[in-house]
Point group: C2
Chain length 318, copies 2
């Protein structure tokens, strides 16, 4: 047997960093054991109480509450459906793969949460609708912190991106109707083929996404085609939302449950070539109502932010 470390754990060479950290954090086996509740011969019926006991030694009351409730919910589920060993194996193998195909910019657990409706529910609970304020929607798996910054009025797509040119403009306001200058507007969307930049091969530069500050008057115009927005300002609650086109096939069946009536918008065809020029948008020729027309799509949409207020207390017990 090797010499012992100060906490009683034996000094072993060649351990991986993980295991070394685990051992360094441990007290002596005797001390740990003395503090644990006794458990023996767990049954399907008594196991939950036992597991909750041993997991209740957490100082943070909110975290303890979340963990204990999670154990109760997970055990109730397993018991109710009679989960079998091979099903459990498939579940953890699946979850491992979800983690392993995730990257810094591809958040597959967010997507899993999205399609199970958990994201939309958490969103609804965390950001209850405030009368007069823009409603929130789900973050989705395609947000990328690494998006480029743009100047007010610049285009967020690169030359040659499929799709038709669109200008989005509107005011960033608060619920009293005041404009909010210097709000950070983070926008992301697919190209005209319905593909996010992150879905392309290789490490291409960010495209169809960008961060823009609203101007001194609180105006935030951006040329683009489904659209996600994250709007931040130190004095206001962060708004994560999205605008859904009235013309989409999926506006009534969004698989990630983000659509709200107030977030469905319509694009207007606009022939104001001066406005196009101002925002460096190249107009296209398109048949509109049976006539050839030179123009672009315009979406006018204000966003109304909510002033920050102290958060309500979080549950720590039933």
């Amino acid at each position: 047997m090797s010499e012992q470390q100060s906490n009683g754990a034996p000094a072993v060479e060649g351990l991986s960093e993980r295991t070394r950290a685990k051992w360094a954090a441990a007290s002596t086996p005797e001390k740990i054991a003395a503090n644990l509740p006794p458990m023996l011969d767990l049954t399907i019926e008594n196991i939950t109480e036992n597991v909750m006991k041993i997991n209740s030694m957490c100082d943070n009351p909110r975290l303890r509450y979340l963990i204990l409730k999670l154990i109760q919910a997970a055990h109730d589920y397993v018991r109710e459906v009679g989960l079998q060993f091979d099903e459990w194996e498939q579940a953890w193998e699946f979850l491992t793969k979800v983690g392993q195909i995730s990257t810094d910019v591809r958040h597959e657990f967010v997507l899993l949460s999205d399609i199970l409706g958990i994201s939309a529910l958490v969103d609804a609970i965390s950001y209850p609708a405030v009368p007069g304020a823009t409603e929130s929607s789900v973050l989705g798996p395609f947000h990328d912190e690494e998006a480029h910054s743009f100047q007010y009025g610049e285009s967020i797509f690169t030359e040659g991106t499929p799709g038709e040119p669109t200008i989005v403009r509107g005011w960033i306001k608060d619920t009293d109707g005041n404009t909010v200058p210097k709000a950070l507007i983070d926008v992301w969307e697919t190209d005209g083929n319905g593909v996010y930049d992150l879905e392309h091969d290789g490490n291409a530069d960010p495209n169809c996404r960008g961060k823009i500050f609203s101007n001194e008057k609180g105006e935030g115009p951006l040329p683009l085609p489904h659209m996600h927005f994250m709007i931040e300002h130190p004095k206001y609650t962060k708004l994560i939302t999205a605008l859904y086109s009235r013309d989409s096939n999926f506006v009534e069946s969004d698989t990630v449950f983000g659509v709200k009536k107030s977030l469905i918008v319509g694009y207007k065809w606009c022939e104001d070539l001066e406005l196009a020029k101002e925002h460096t948008v190249t107009p296209i020729v398109k048949t509109i109502d049976g006539k050839e027309s030179t123009g672009f799509w315009l979406l006018e949409q204000d966003f109304v932010l909510v002033k920050k207020s102290p958060p309500p207390p979080r549950k720590t017990e039933d």
Copy 2:
């Protein structure tokens, strides 16, 4: 806009393999949309029903049942604890890390399931105790398919492994008392320092683990020191179990909830040097009951397997 593929999806170049596969599997947007239930303006109250509706289009009745119940359980949990956005963020970031530190031999989602008592519960449900048969226990995160095979009686640890020599021997039997020859016994355990081979740096060879067939008489002896066993035979239900030493500090507080009374064993000090020789075990000198003694540890333990029978039907509805 690019040309369309046969299913109506546009043909786009440079897509990642993932996205290509996703598109190839899709029907046309119109067809998909026509088959989806309408949803709009989800609320905290109605979202669960809506999410279940859109996730109920699964042909496998058991899978559909598991998914729908999972949605219900997850939503009930989120609503009951009032899960907040930042807590949800921490949760998916944590789960991503769990997946990313997992490897072929390091199953961190199994460990997470273990410490939440889910593994032990699934084990109890999947393998109910059969009178007279050896009870099962949890798999744990340290099983490794890549373990070496050994001949009957060979030692599974390499020269210089810390610990004291131990011989484990016993019969593999069925519940009628018949011996079971040619059962595959897969054993894994820590070394004398309490460290699994997988916890060491680098890709060292498997150590303190191995696969052995029971002999013609069904006897399965192995020299070793806490021990996991997986015993397989085509005619018998696979037994995953573990033996827990009576002398362990943690026998009443196993953090993965695997201990059962019938699996607690005691090692005996043995001075039978002929037996040691037979199993290529080098005896050590140790003070036993105040006297110097040359010997090794012996554990005699039979394993009783259950004959395979048709599995009971699994729930597909309440």
